[in-house]
Every structure is written in structure tokens, then in C-alpha cells.
Symmetry: C5
Subunit: 325 residues, 5 copies
């Protein structure tokens, strides 16, 4: 689907322009034009990106590629080409998905393009623009800022959920350290590492937009990109903090496993060291020697119970003193 919006310098805004109107709008180099390609066909891409806007073949190729692209800013003099990543949390937190938003920023236009069926930040800003026209009064750079800001805002809920799940897992570990818990922690770790790898270059994109002197971005707008940059720095801090939590959870897991082993071994040792001597004593008086003075003795059986009880009491006292209970 292709949606378009044009606000001429003077005159009323138009929605959903046809090809000719679009070509004209591009040529006037005035006003504010936004074209949004949503899951476009290759033909639509060629038509809009190639024939109408005459973007560089490499940029068009990047927009069409389905695989993973690192976030970046490419400066093609007449326009900037920006790749940013939107996050789509799965039901299963441990494997969120990313989809790419490709943006072209010219002096009077923004072109956004995405192959994913849904791109909430674009939809949010489009709706906001329909509701409140003031968003379009500050030029193309400010409009791009609004879209990227919405995109970055969607990172926080995912991070909050990750944080929450890890805290739940930590409690689960101490109660009962089991392999599935570990597998889950490692999946979350993998997820967090991927998140980290996405946020880094994204932050760098914002840094360059706020710092480098691109003619498409006015001095006044740079501070807004700086604000997104600060936001991403905060998010990176949180991700680092989550990474620490995960690494602590792993330590706890290992320690809980080895504590469990210690506990099991203690039980085994206590039972063995009590009953092996007892059985030995019983075995002694089960021997059949003809000359055993204790056997015919009237209090032999009582004595042997005395021995049994003193072994048990002695052992338990010893274990208590070693701090095994």
C-alpha cells in the first residue's frame, strides 16, 4: 500500500496524490511531502523510489532486501538514506523480531518504506498528523524526528518485560534449579545480546543525525535528534543492567545446582555413616563362633542396643558440631 500527503507552501494539504501530482510536488522542492510505502510490491518500489524520486540503486536495493541490515545513515548529497529497526515482541519474549524502516530525507520530503505488514511508529505518526496538522509545520526533518521518536519509544515495553521475566526466573532458580530454567535464561541472554547489538548502531545513527552537519537537517532540529540519542543511551544502560542480572542469574543457577548436590551428599553421608557402623555391630553378633562370651550373656541384647544408641547419638552430635544440619 502506498499513502502520500502533501502540504504546499500555500494552499490546502492533499492526501493520496497520483503519480503526476507526486512528480510535481517533488520538483517544486517546496512544502512538505510524505510518501509511505507499506509492504510495497517490487513494482511499486521501482515506480516510487526509482522513477519518481530517482534514488540511488544501492539504496533501493537495501530497501528491498529481506535479510538483516545494520542501522545506518548514508549521505547521497541530495538526500539522506536511513535504516532504523523497529522491535516486535513475540509472544515468547526470548525471541523478539526486528523489522526495518527505511527512510529517505530530502529537503522537502520524507519517504518511508517497510516490508513488514505492520509498522506501528509510522501508523502512529500518520494518525497524529491527520488529527493535528501542526506536526507538519516544522519541515521534513522534524517529521522524520517524530517517526524515529515513536520507533524508539516502542523499545521500552520490551525491555521492561525482559527485566520482569528475569526477576521471576531468579526466584524460580533458588527454589528449584532445573535445566529448562537454564535454557530459558540462556534464551533471554541471547535475546538481550541481540538487542544490544541493534541499539548500538541505532544510537550511532542518532548521534550522526544530531551532530554531523547534514543540509537536510536544520540546526534547530538537531537538538531533537539529540533527544532520541539520549533516550537510546538510557535504553542501552538498561540493557547493560539486564545483562548483569542475567549473568547473576547464571551464577545463582550454578551455585544452586552445586548446593543441591551438597545437600544430597550430606543426606547420603549422614545415613551411611550412621548405619554402616550399626550394621557392622549387628553383623558381629550374627557370627556363629562357638566361643563368644556375649552370646549366652543375659544382658547381651540390652548391651548391643546400648551400643546402637550411643553410635547414633555420637554421630549426630558430631554432625551437629560440624554444622551439617
Amino acid at each position: 500500500m502506498v499513502r502520500s500527503f502533501y502540504l504546499p507552501v500555500s494552499g490546502a494539504p492533499c492526501w493520496d496524490l497520483d503519480i503526476d501530482a507526486l512528480k510535481q510536488a517533488v520538483e517544486t522542492k517546496d512544502g512538505l511531502l510524505w510518501v509511505s510505502l507499506e509492504k510495497p510490491t517490487p513494482q511499486e518500489m521501482q515506480l516510487y523510489l526509482g522513477d519518481i524520486f530517482h534514488f540511488h540503486p544501492l539504496a533501493i536495493e537495501d530497501s528491498q532486501s529481506v535479510g538483516y541490515q545494520t542501522p545506518k545513515v548514508d549521505d547521497y548529497e541530495a538526500y539522506l538514506f536511513i535504516i532504523a529497526h523497529a522491535l516486535h515482541p513475540n509472544h515468547d519474549l526470548a525471541s523478539f523480531e526486528t523489522s526495518e524502516l527505511n527512510c529517505f530525507l530530502g529537503s522537502n520530503y520524507v519517504v518511508t518504506s517497510h516490508l513488514a505488514p505492520e509498522m506501528p511508529p509510522v501508523q502512529t505518526v500518520w494518525k497524529r498528523m491527520q488529527r493535528d496538522e501542526r506536526l507538519t509545520h516544522h519541515g521534513a526533518d522534524f517529521l522524520l524526528h517524530a517517526i524515529l521518536d515513536a520507533l524508539v519509544d516502542e523499545y521500552m515495553p520490551l525491555i521492561d518485560q525482559l527485566d520482569e521475566e528475569i526477576e521471576l526466573l531468579e526466584d524460580a532458580i533458588i527454589e528449584n534449579p532445573r535445566q529448562p530454567t537454564l535454557t530459558r535464561i540462556l534464551a533471554l541472554k541471547h535475546s538481550t545480546m541481540n538487542l544490544r547489538r541493534i541499539i548500538g548502531p541505532q544510537r550511532e545513527v542518532m548521534n550522526r543525525l544530531s551532530r554531523d552537519e547534514y543540509p537536510q537537517i536544520g540546526a534547530r532540529s538537531r537538538i531533537y535528534f539529540r533527544d532520541i540519542y539520549d533516550h537510546l543511551v538510557r535504553i542501552q544502560d538498561l540493557v547493560e543492567s539486564i545483562r548483569d542480572l542475567i549473568s547473576d542469574a547464571l551464577s545463582t543457577y550454578l551455585s544452586a545446582t552445586s548446593n543441591r548436590l551438597n545437600e544430597i551428599m550430606k543426606a547420603l553421608t549422614i545415613v551411611s555413616t550412621i548405619f554402616l557402623p550399626l550394621s557392622f555391630v549387628a553383623g558381629v553378633y550374627g557370627m556363629n563362633f562357638q566361643y563368644m562370651p556375649e552370646i549366652p550373656w543375659e544382658y547381651g541384647y540390652v548391651m548391643v542396643w546400648g551400643i546402637f544408641i550411643s553410635i547414633v547419638v555420637g554421630m549426630l552430635t558430631y554432625f551437629k558440631r560440624r554444622g551439617w544440619f
Copy 2:
């Protein structure tokens, strides 16, 4: 609550100015003005930061946001906007809290704003100013330095307490390595890592204030910010040292756990390797064969006790030689 103080170039200092007096003080661009917004309402924020000082909407937004903000310096030409973090140790050391102090530094004014109900460094400096007016004779940059210096001074007690608790824990580990001790160490580690992440950008803020040539900070004052910077470098060194201690405590924990396991296994092994052979010998003479020459032998029972004693003595000698005691 809003407190304000104004010292004109010539004339007596005024306290708690009304709106008009404030506006006038801002406009004279002279003297020294300090406005302190303490847990202000959104209306107060808008009134003071927006209507009186005309700060940039992004800076005001940052001041109003409740969530975590990375320490930073933003240069808005006419003024600097600085976010710094004050530490509030909880009763439980392992989770101190941070609250943000937002500072605006103009050529003749300092505006501080914080959403936390308490901000000791601001209160300390305000009281000092009431007591000793000389603090106000060196300009707005020196006043800001005094506030940030007080803020950084509050880091040390927390670090000292962390250091102390970890040393206590290390002793506890060697005596008795238990899961709660580990959980506590990991909580302190998490706390220390967060501390580290806060101090880093804070230091960078001081570095920029002491090095970059902001017109709001006189050449003479830069060395004072350098002093805070040095202080933070020292604090960072201490935090690194605490991090090492924690990592050592974890090593000790793991080693103590495995030592304990070794000790338990040694006890089990000693008892088993002594009593299993003994029981076997007793079992042999509990067999009912009709033709067993030792059974009817008069010294059979004495002989078997000889065997028992030599097994015990032999085993103990062997263990002693292997260094198991």
C-alpha cells in the same frame, strides 16, 4: 516548593522574590540569581522554567520526566542544562536509589529543580549561603560548583558502607557458605555495577564543564569543576576496587562450597572404606556352612577381633599418609 534568592550588583540580597521581581532579575542579566524548584507541580515548572526563563521545551520535558535520565550537559547557547544524580542509600545497601538534580546555568543565574522530596546537596548549599554570603560573590558558575561538589560528596559514605559489608560477607563465606550469602553478594554486585554506570557519565559531565569552553563558566572556575572531576575519578577507582572484592568473594564462595563437598565426601569415604570390609568379615563368620574350621576354634572370636582392629588401623594409617586428616 519554590525558593529564590537574588543578589543585585549593588544593593542588599533579596529572598523569595515574587514573579515580577524574578522576571526583572532575569532581564537585568546582572547580579546572581538562584531559583530552587523543590518537588514542583507541573504548573510551577511551566511557570518558572517556561514563562519566566523561557527554557527549551526539551529541557523542560527532561526536568519533568520521572524515569531514569543519563547525566549530561546540553548546551542551549544562552544557558547550559545539566542533569546530575544524587544518591540516596536505602536501609538495605544493596539497592540505593538515585534521584535527578536538573540544573540550568545562565550567565547570571542558577536554576535547580528536583522531583524528589529531599535533595540534601541543594539544602546544604542553601543553608551555607544563608550563613555565609561570600559563597555568592564568585558568580553563578561557582555557585553551581558548590552544589555539584556537595552532591558528589554524598557518594563516599555509600561506597564506604559497600566496602565494609563486602568484607563482612567474605568472612561469613569462609565460615559457612550458604545460598543467602551468595544472593546478597550478587545483590551488592548489581548495586556496584549500577553505581559504576552512574559515575561514568557524571564524570564525563564534569570533564566537559572543566574542559569545554562554555561562556557560562569562567576560566577561573573551570579548575573547580576539574576538582570535582578528580574526585569522581577517585570514586571510580574505589568502585573498581569494590568490584574486584566482589568478584573475589564469588570465587571464595564457589571454592568454599566445593571444599565443603570435599569434606563431606571425605567423611563418607572414610566411614565406608572402614566399615564395609569390617561388615564383610563379620558376614563371613555369620555363614552357616557346616564345615568351617574357624567356627568351633576356641580363639576364633579373638582372631576375628584381631582382623577388625588391623583393618581399622591399616585404613587410618593409609588415610593419614594420603593427607586426608
Copy 3:
């Protein structure tokens, strides 16, 4: 084998030029010349690289050396000397091989040379050139880009296979952690680390080709090398991600091993703590004392079975409550 191609500024393209024609083509400094040395003899190398193109002895030495050479760009003013690495996956993934492609880029020529018998990227581009002459219309720098692009494209299948095998291994670990699995993981890890060490300098080569102002590379072509650079950045991200997977696989392996130990110990402990007390009781009534009241008692044998059953039930209840099942 030596293959050559020459497209004069005006006129038809020639294939497989003789020495004199080659010398002339080099001297005109016009058109586009590509000489491909494929597993050349030392004599061929000396003839083409030394006598015809007069390359620097050090560059020729690097081209002849069989051992491992780090990817690099050397600027010899009149031409660039570039070493790039092609990957050859073995049957056994864990030890792919690399072979070097040496490229010389002059203003109107590309010379490629490789000692490996096969160099698919060169063959691919040569065939494409035979099919589609347009590839030769953009100058030597564009032709070099096409070769290096084909070379980097061959990295992806290897990375995909590594990724796949590691995921298979992870499942194998949880089911049955055995030494050969570990050995395999470590082999893959070693392979991944080597891959990482190759990609880094390769990326740096592309970075320099796209950024530094070499006269051999036109401003228009730089963006194409930037594209290869972006591709390598993506590949590096994937390799980092694989490295994380491997490190997680190692954690899983260790944890699975220790879980197995715990399971074994649990079995041992349960059996021992049940049967040691039972055997003791049986041993007691195997004693031969003449005065044992239970022996002649009619219900003695029933009572003892009652004791046996209550020990078993008691123990099992205890283990259940400890969560050992």
C-alpha cells in the same frame, strides 16, 4: 593459467592477449584491462607482475607467499595492492579454509592473482563479463568491486551452516552431554574465532577503499565499496551472534553434565538411605543372642516386616517432600 581481457576506449574487446598486446594495453593507460593469474607458476608471476606491470618486489613477494597473509590495502601510488580472503568450507564445517586473492588496481587495469586452484568469485565475475559486457563499462574500480562483492557473498552460506549446526548441537547437549559433543563445540568455536579474525581486517580494507581518497577509485564508485563494507558489518554481527550461541552451548554443556551428576547422586542416595536402615534391622534379628525377646515371639516376623514397610514409606515421603522426585 593466465586469462586476460582488454576493452579499448574505442573498438572491440579482445580476449587472451599475447605479451606484446598486453604491454601495449598497459602503456595506453586507457580502456579497461583485466589479467587473471590462476595458480600461476613462479615464472608466470615474474613475467606478468614483474616484467609487464612492473609491480613492487614486496607486493610480488606477498602474492607468491603460500602462508597466511592478513587482508590489507597497500598504496603504491601508481596502483593499489589489495589482499582479500575467500572462504572455502570443508566437508567438515569446523575447519573451513581460506585462500588469498591478490588484486592490483591501476587506473585502467585490474590484475587478480591466486595460488589456490579454485577461486569461485573470480570465475563468477569472469563468466558474467563474458555474458554481459555492461559490467566493463564503468571502469577498473567498478570491476574490482564486482569481484570483491562476489567474494564476500560467499561468506554467508558458511555462516548459515555454522548457525544451523550449533543449534543442532544445543539440542544434542541437553539430551546427552558427551565429550565428543564438547570437542565439536570447541572446534566450531575455534572456527568462529578464526572467521572473526579474518572478517575484521577485511572490513577495514573495504572501509579504506570507500573512505580514503585513492585516485584509482572514483568518487562515484566509493559508495559501492561502502556497500561491501556494510555487508561485512552485517556478517560480523552474525558472527558475534554465533559466538554467543557457542558460549551458551558451553554453559549448557557444563550445566547438563552437572545435572547428570546430580541425578546419579540422587539415585544413589535414595537407594542407600532406604536399604542401609533396612539391612540394619534385618541384621539385628540375625544376631545370635540367647536372650532376645522378639525371636521366640509369634508375631516377630510380621512386626519386622511392619518396620521394613514403615521405613520405606517414611523415607519416600521425606524425599517427596524435599522435591527429589
Copy 4:
């Protein structure tokens, strides 16, 4: 205690100048003046540093502070303020102490100040100066170099001792891995990490003194500070090497502990797997069934010993083949 020395441009050197002579010496800006404040009272500090030399209050404050200060160079235009760390090995190596030497370097004077009762490098250089006046012929910068060189020279013995003790510990570990050995290794590790943290900034101080163009340090003298810098680089290399040794010692400790566990478990397993079957066989022939054919058999007892011996021999053969001896 305060000691002072003044060598006018022409004329005899004077020792222990009074206040007025000192003030005059400072004012001439000629000759070479060295004032050494050794464990000065606050009054002495104020008198010398404040009233005579008019140093900046922040520098004086740093000189007075008892706590830990990071080594640094502060440039106060008329003079440099340098903090360096001297090492004082304790009897117990694992916790050496550092004390600060504060140096002020002006165009014609060096002022050293330390709060520690002893500061061997200062005393060494002072004595050398008394013995050999040539030390004072090369200006204040060369004198400062001599003091700092003496200070850095005192690092080596501590490092040598650390190295030696670690090698002793490594041998101790393999013979008998015990908790106190681990505790000691961790203490040495902590000590080494602290050493590393001190040497880094110290090296940076020397780097700046040798590289930055301070007017107080002549071009000719810079190479001498470069020499101290090289010395510290060497020391840092040694510290890194010690760090590696410690980390290896920890690996050895853990491995030795787990080897010990393996050995203990092997002993237990061998004894159990031999005697449990033996006891079972003895138990079988201890049963009281009326119809047991072996019981009345004449060679029953001989046969059972045959069984015992074949079990023992079989088991030992099995263990041997598994490589358990």
C-alpha cells in the same frame, strides 16, 4: 619538619633558610630552590604553600587531604602541581600501602610535601644532593626528575616479592589445595589489581610531563621524564604478567580441588564395588533356609572363598583396565 635548600645563580648554596630568605629566593625567580615539607602541621602548610609560594587553594587542599588521591598533573600556569604515589610494602605483602608525594614545580623551585612520616625517595635525593652538588646544576625540572625516578625505582622490589610469593603458592597448591591458600592468592590478586590501578595514572603523569609542552620543563629534560615513563611501562608489563600468574594459580587451585574430589571418590568407589558384592555373597550363606544344598556340602566354605577371591581379582582387573590406578 621543613627542610630547604637554595643555590643562587652566583654564590654559595644555603641550607635551611628562614622565612624571609625563602620569600626573597622565590621572588628572585633565579637559582634553584627546594623546600621539602615532611609531615608538616596544617600551620606549616598554610605558611609555606599559602603565604610564601601563594599556591592555589585547591592544590593546598589536595596536599592536606589524608585520603587517597589519584596521581595527576595540574597546570596552574606559573607552576605545575604533581601528585605521585610512593609504595610502602607491609610485612604482609598482600597489603602494601601507598603514600602521596605532592610536588610543585616552578621555573626555579621544587616544593615537595608529604604527610607520611617517611618518604624514602625524597630522603635519598636530599642526601645525594648533600653529597654531590652536581645534581643541582641542571635546574628544577631535572631535580624533580631525580625525585620521581627514585620514587618509581622503589616499585621494583615489591613486584619482585609478589612474583616470588606467587610461585611459592603455586607449588603449595599442587601439593595441598586448602582454603587459606586460596584466601592468600585472592589477597595477592587484590593487591596486584590495586598496584595496576596506581601505576596506570602514574604512567600517564610521566607521559604528560615528557610530551606536553610545559614551560617549566625544558626540551632537554623531557627525555628524562620519558625514561621514567618507559620504566613504568616495563613495570606495568610485569604487573600484567603477575596478574596472569595469579589467574593461573586460581585455575590450578580449582583443578587441584576437583582432582582431589575425584581421587576420594575413586577410593570410595573401589572399596564399595569390591565389598558390597562380597558382603552379599556372605549374606546369602548366612540365610537360615532348611533346604540349602551348599550348606551341608563339605567344600562349600572353600567354594565361597573361591567366589570371594574371583570377585576381588575381577574387580581389580576391571579398574586397572579403566585406568583407575
Copy 5:
């Protein structure tokens, strides 16, 4: 021993010049002079380095010092002072030795000096020069390159041997993980880390010689130092690869140890869980109760063997199903 060689601009080369001839050769600032001090006495050092060449006292001191010196380039304007490290593999690979080669490079001379009795790279180049005079036709910088190239070439055999031994050790570990193997791996690791620390600064020396514009090194010669630099980068890559192998060997060791423990515990558990129930059953029928119905029963003994066999078969089936065989 001191050897010298002088090739005047015009005229025949001279060998082993006397002091006056040397002084004259230095003064002409023409031709090519090489003086090689091989294990010189302090007097020789002073004579040649001090009196003839007038080198800086610090450089002479560095040349005389026996201890470890970091590789470096010092620029003394009229000449460069270079410290490089030659490797001497011991019989025992794990502790190779390094010895320093000190080089002075002037516009028309190279002075090499080493305290080690043997310095193969110097001897190699000297012999080559005797054989083939062309080496001396390219100036002092090219001669120095030849010496340093020979020095770096000697690194490879050591690295190859390290690589080989580690692969042998890895096989030994899997077969039989023992403490001496670990100790050996750790020794090789230590050796590798030291190697790494030596190669880094060495590489930096070559980088500076090839990049910085020293007047002693002609533009044409810089590319030769770049070649040595590339060689060292390759060597560093190999060392990193060996470091990975070592770290994998340690993982394998730990895992093999814990596998061994698992195997031992499995044996113990299998034997115990089979024989403890068997012994219990035998114990039951060894009890002496007067009323035990099975005792007088004709088929009691057969039945009990039935029980024994079903316990054994049941247990083995269970273990098989758990995958313990």
C-alpha cells in the same frame, strides 16, 4: 667483541676499522658504516657509544641494562635509538627467553649492540653482507630493515612449535586428564601471554618506523618497514589463535575431569543400587525368628534366588533405559 664495516661513497669497503678510522667515517657523514657490539664490556660500550658516536647517556644506559626493556623507538634528532627483542626458544618451550637488540640508526650508520652472547639475526645479516655486497647499496635504513626482518623471521618457528605442542596436549587431555597436563597447559599459556606482550610493542615500533617521517628513513624504505609490520600483525593473529586453543584446552580439561567423576559415580551407583537390595533380602532370611514360614519351606532357597535375579535384571533394565550404559 666489536665488528665494523665501512663502505665509502667511492672506494673499496673496509672491515674491522680501528678507532681513528671509525671516528673519521662517522665524521664524513657519507657512505655506509655498520658497527656491531657483541657482548661488549662496559669499557667498549663507553668507548664506542659514548666517545665515538656521542650517543645520549640515557640511550647508552638502556643499552647496558641487563633487565627487561620494552621495545621502543626514541628519536634523538641526529639518530634513532631502537630496542627490539629477539626470541631464544629454550629446550622447554614453555619458557622461551628474549634478548634485546639495541640499534642506533644515523643518516649513514647503523650501530647494533647486544649483551646476549648470541644474536642470530645480526650474525645472519653480517654473513649475508660478506657474501653479497648488494645489501649495502641501499643505505643505512635498508640495512637496519634487513636486520629487523631477520629478527622477526625467528619468531615463526617458536610459534609453530607452540601450536604443535598444544595440539598434542589436547589429545592427551581427552585420553587422561591429569594435573601435570594442566600445569603444562598453564605454562604454555603463560608463555603465550608473554609472547603477546612482546609482539605488541614490537609491532608498534615497526608501525612508527614505517609511518612517522623520520629523516633517517627514506620514503622508499618505509614500505619495507611496513612489510615487517604486516609480518608482525600476522604473527599476532597466530598468537591470538594459539591463545584460543589454550583456552579451549582448559575447557576440555575441566570437562574431561568432570566427565571422569561422572563415570566413577555411575559405577559406584550401579553397584550400590544393585547390591544393597540384594544384601537386604539375604539379611531378611538370615534373621533367627522362630516363626518364619519361608524358612522350612522346601522351595524357599530357590525363591530367594528368583528374587535376587529379578532385582538384578530390573535394575539393569532401569539403568539401560536412563541411558547410563
